[in-house]
Structure formats: C-alpha cells, structure tokens
Symmetry: C2
Subunit: 393 residues, 2 copies
C-alpha cells in the first residue's frame, strides 16, 4: 500500500517511540524530494494547538516543504509557550539528524493539556533518521482511536503523462467542521502554483468541513497538501477540462478520506448522509445540515433504528436556517414522511427494515430557496460513550 | 404536596386518557379562580409546535387566564394546519364542558410529527370536568421520560401578608437553551402587572435558558407564569426591598425547577455546574458555557470519571468567545489545573476521587474581561443512548 507516498518523489514511514503508553506506532514522517509547494487548512478553534500555529508560520514564510512530522498520543495543545518551543525543537532536531533542507511541518494529535514527552520524541526522530526506523506505516503511526488506517490514491493522465494523488487521514473523535482531531495529508506529483489555494480550500469545505462525528471542533485539525511537481506536469499549462479533471480528482480523494473518517467515527454503526436542499443560501443549508448531523437525538434514533424523523425537523428548526413550514418536506431513508408541512402516513415495517441498513439518509427540503449542501455523519452509540469516558486510561 | 396549586386560588389535577400507550397519566389541568395575569416564554425553534403558536396568540390577546391544559405523549409538532386546529378544538371543548370563562392555554409534549389523538383527548377532558377525573397529580400527568415529578413551593411575607409561589416542570431530554421539551408552570397569588414581563423573562434566562442536557432545542418549550392576585397583595404597592425579595424568590424557584430538570436529565449520573468568568461580555460567557456544557466529549469524560480537562479548553476555543490564551485559567472539580495559559501538575488520585462525586464543577476564566454566566448540565451516559435509541417504542 503506497497511499500517501504513491505520487513520485514522496516517501513515508512510521515508528513507535513511546509517546503512546501501549507501545503502538506514534511518530510518522512524510518526505518529499524535491521539496513541495505546501497548502494548509486549519482549525478555527481559538485555543489552537502549538503545531497549528507553527505550521501556519512555516507555510506563511513561503519556503517549499520537504518534510511533515506527525506524532499521535499527545496533541501538544493548551501547553502554553513551552508547547510552541517543543514543536520548534522537534523540527530542528529532525533537520539536524536527517540533514534534509526545505521547510519542515509538525502535526500532533492526542491528549490535550499534557506537555509533549520530548525524550520519547527525540528517540523517535533518531529511529526515523537511522537504519532501524520506519518499519511501521505512516498511516498507522498517526492513528489515535481510529480502528483502521484511512488512505487513498488515484492516478490520472494529464498533458500526456501520469499524474498521481495520494492521501492519509486520521479521525475518530472530536470530528466537526473546522475540523476536529482530524489530520489529513494529501500528496500529488503535479506542480501546483501558490494561486491554487482557494481551489484547495473549497475542496476542504466540501469534504472535511462537511463531516461531523460529535460536534466537537478540535484544537489540532489540519489538512495539508503537498505538490512537488515530480511528474513533470504543471497545473498552469493544463487546459480547462484537464484542470477540471484534476480538481475533481482532488475533491473526490478528499471526500473518500473524509467519509472514511465518518465510517470509523467513535462507536459508529451507521453512515448517515444528510442532504439539505431548498435553502435560501449555502450558509443556511450548511447550518441546517450541521444541526441535524450533530443532534444527539437524531443520532441516537439512528443507532436504535427508531424512525423518529420529527427530531430532524426540530433540529432544522433550531439551526437558525430560514424554513417555510408550508413547503418543508422530508425524505427519511428514501421514504417521503413529511410533505409541504404535513406528516404522511407510512409503512412502519418497511421503515424499520430501511433503518437497519448500514448506509442511511435524510433529505430535507427547507422549501425556502434554491441552495443546497450535504453533510456526512454517523450515529451515537454506547461505544461512543465508552470510548470517550475512558480515553486517557 | 400542593406544589403548583400551593398559592391561593389555584387547583390542579391529572388523568390518564390513553394518549400514552402505557396507560400512565397524560392530561393535566391547572385552574386559577380568579383568572390570572399570564406571562409566557417560548422556544425560539422555527418549527415551533401548534400549542406554542396558540399560547402566544392567547397571551397577546391580553385576557386573564383561567386554565392551562397540558398533555404528554404527543407534542402536536410538525402537524401542519390540522395541528393548530386540534389545539383550538381542545381549548373549545374544555371551555364548553367546564363552563369556565377566561383564557385557556394549551401545552403539549411528546413525540413530534404524529397527529394529536383527538378521541383520547376528548375523553380526558370529560374525565377532568366530570366527577371521576383528577385523581392523578398534575405534575405526574405532564411527565414524559422524567423519572420523578419536579415541583417547588415557597411562602413569603410581603406587605404584612402571606404571598405564595408554586411550580411544576417536566424535562428529561431535548433540553437546551430556548428551551427544550421543557414545560414549566409557575403560579403565584401575588397580583403582578403586565409590566412585570421583562423581570420574568430575565429570570427565565438565568434558569431554564441556562441548563442543557443534550443541546437539542425542542419545538415545544414553554414556561408559563400565572399571577392571580388572590393573596390581596399587589406587586406595584410593594417597596423596593419587598419587590427584590419577590423577584429573588421567583428566580430561586425557577432555578430549583431548572436544576431538577438537569438532575433528571436522560441517563444523567452527574450534575455539572459550568461557571464562566472573565469574559468580555455576557454573550461571550454564555457562548463558552454553552459549548462546554453541550460538548459530548466533556460530558462523556465526566460520565467515565476521566479528568480530561483539556476538552473544556477545546470547547471554549470553538465557542466563538474571545479568550486570552496567556491569561486563561481553569478549575476542574475545585482544583486549578491550568493557570495563565499553562497546565499545572496535579495529584491524579485526588482528582479521580473528586470526579466520583455526584456534583462536579468547572470554573473557566477566559482572561479577557469581567462578564460571567453559569450553566448547569449533566453527563452523557449509556442510558442516554438507550433511552433515545428507542423513545417511540
């Protein structure tokens, strides 16, 4: 499985250095040779972690990126000035030992409010730079409560040559727009200009910012895209339809990873697609979709297989989105249950069967306009409570 | 137990008429003779239920209120024009059978999106107006998933006479500011002028709008205050300190009921006080308090007895409230764990003991200003998931 190192010029590795108490892999490195143009999308949490501040700073400086170091087991968040100093030390230490040039980014995920265990991290860097290191996969080393690694890869023909995309993500809990303990790393060997940033941010909005597990936005959420040009193909010389093919492939890859994060949501037993249409604006469609997707009552109803679709209307009602109660309608698991403000009679047995599916859906028409947005979420189960009631132990 | 009918001139009763499938009491009536000045605070949910629209209309018309009818088992929400017609029919039917004058208010709580079972309701009204009815308590008849009735009563000496306050509330799930499947009925025999409305609304804000169980705001939330003047004492002739005594007693009674709702939150095992200080504005303090109180990660940590206080900072960080990361500090279960942006070392055993208490607290200083607000919430347990996974069955 090449995943994040599938595009030319990328390599990746992981190791276990003792940040996690259970001995599992907890430090990963992703390298690009030649160094790559870097793009980042970060949490909007005001208590953003030290590595988020550090990555913003490195990307703003504009140098091309050779390395991303990622540790799991400790978020280095709410750690004050020492936290930022520790992140700098991590990057400097890797630079010295690896003798690699170019910008180095650092990401962390795990427990909040504990200082980074620097001796363990130093040991991990030595392992990754030495001959013994790197036997574990990168995508395994970035996991926390994830039950499987999330990876993706694609190959396109553009300008007569092969262009590749790769990706790895970790998720599980604290998943909510902007963006959760979500870390995602996307690679491509296409040469992307700095001006590609808005296209990248829009794709993040339509993928990672459209998923939610529990409504908690983390201090560490980060999506990084590295484009190293090793394919020999430059985005700027592609024609419009080729650009559209690449943009679509990137969005598709981001969505695949984002949806994998939801499918592996803490304790999730169902994958729920929440489509909102008929909104006066995209902002309203997002607000309604987010409220429905985050509602513990909607999520527990799906877990229990209870077709209590009134909770969807209640959530849309408190979302702040404009709704027209005389035109609002709702499809629940593919069955229209509410039409133009009135409940419809329905076959409860058929509905019970549909609720048992692994993939379920809600389609809500607010009856107020033309805008739409889609969210993906999961149900709320006993296991979510269990996992999060004892995360640190 | 007189509770809601403790003040002079009030009487209350309940009956079982078959709206609930399990045969439990499901229709209550609260009467005031003489008819009372009525005040109401309602859900801001855009999908507000038919009875909410009806109560707003009756109160706006300004006539004094003789009766409040309350059914549980069916919320009469998302039921279209027929829902409003059913509420009117309910009030008209009671008026005809009871031959009582004055305004009649109607409240409903229960499942959303099902038409009100009018034959059952009609039977219940006949029972309440006939000689056989009213053996069940009012506070029991308004319960849904509540495990105990929530009532309160107070007696004051004002203007040399006895003035009484009474109250009953139902809560359990869908509890969130503005205001949940929360119904509360407050009575007093003091004579209150219409101009008392802002004082009442402020008290609701500092009580029922400062509690949250699951972040879901319902379609039916209603707090009604009836003041019938039967004590012979008028608020307007009280001196400033007597007015303050009454206002304080009303706020205290509302808080007692609101906190009882939280203590009986669906599946709750802990009562959590979330105090936010050092905010730039009350709005910011509320936003941070609400985010912390609603965070599934904070709530499951309390359920599991895991002192994962970093989640409190993360929730405050995404709340939108302004925070000063160099001055922010946090007391968790009475222990300062984070001071001026830095984590403090702590005694994990002592903290584990404190986490086992039934009443726990979080005090967060945002370090940004002088404003404060307090929320009350409960933990998120297996039983919350169980109760809400099968509510309709």
């Amino acid at each position: 499985m090449k995943d994040v190192s599938f595009p030319q010029g990328f390599s990746a590795a992981g190791t276990a250095c003792g940040i996690k108490k259970n001995g599992k892999p907890d430090l990963g490195v992703l390298r690009s040779d030649p160094p790559a143009q870097g793009f980042g999308a970060f949490t909007r949490n005001a208590a953003a972690a030290a590595p988020v501040a550090f990555c913003r700073e490195v990307l703003a400086a504009g140098s091309r990126i050779s390395t991303i170091l990622v540790n799991s087991g400790n978020a280095n968040a709410a750690t004050g000035p020492k936290g930022l100093a520790d992140t700098r030390t991590t990057a400097d230490s890797y630079r010295t030992l690896s003798r690699v040039g170019g910008g180095i980014l650092v990401c962390s995920t795990g427990v909040i409010g504990e200082p980074l265990p620097m001796p363990a991290l130093q040991r991990g860097i030595e392992q990754l730079c030495g001959s013994t290191g790197g036997e574990a996969g990168f995508s395994a080393a970035i996991m926390t409560t994830d039950t499987f690694p999330k990876t993706a890869e694609k190959e396109l023909q553009l300008g007569g040559r092969s262009v590749r995309l790769g990706g790895a993500a970790k998720g599980a809990g604290m998943i909510c727009p902007n963006m959760a303990t979500m870390l995602a790393f996307i690679t491509t060997d296409l040469d992307l200009p700095k001006t590609y940033r808005p296209v990248f941010l829009d794709a993040v909005d339509r993928s990672f910012n459209s998923i939610t597990v529990d409504g908690d936005m983390s201090t560490n959420d980060t999506v990084l895209l590295l484009a190293n040009g090793a394919s020999g193909v430059r985005y700027e010389i592609l024609n419009a339809s080729e650009k559209a093919i690449f943009d679509g492939a990137l969005l598709g890859l981001l969505r695949d990873l984002a949806q994998a994060v939801v499918r592996d949501g803490e304790g999730a037993t169902k994958f729920i697609t929440v489509e909102v249409v008929g909104a006066v604006s995209e902002a309203d469609a997002k607000a309604a979709g987010r409220a429905v997707s985050n509602s513990p009552l909607v999520k527990t109803a799906f877990f229990g297989g209870d077709a209590n679709w009134g909770r969807v209307l209640a959530a849309a009602g408190y979302s702040g989105a404009e709704l027209n109660m005389e035109k609002i309608s709702l499809e629940f698991c593919g069955v229209k249950v509410f039409d133009k403000g009135m409940p419809l009679s329905r076959d409860e047995e058929d509905m019970a069967r549909r609720m048992k599916e692994k993939n379920v859906s809600v389609k809500l028409n607010l009856g107020a306009g033309e805008a739409s947005w889609t969210y993906w979420t999961c149900d709320l189960s006993y296991d979510y409570v269990k996992i999060n009631g004892s995360y640190r132990s």
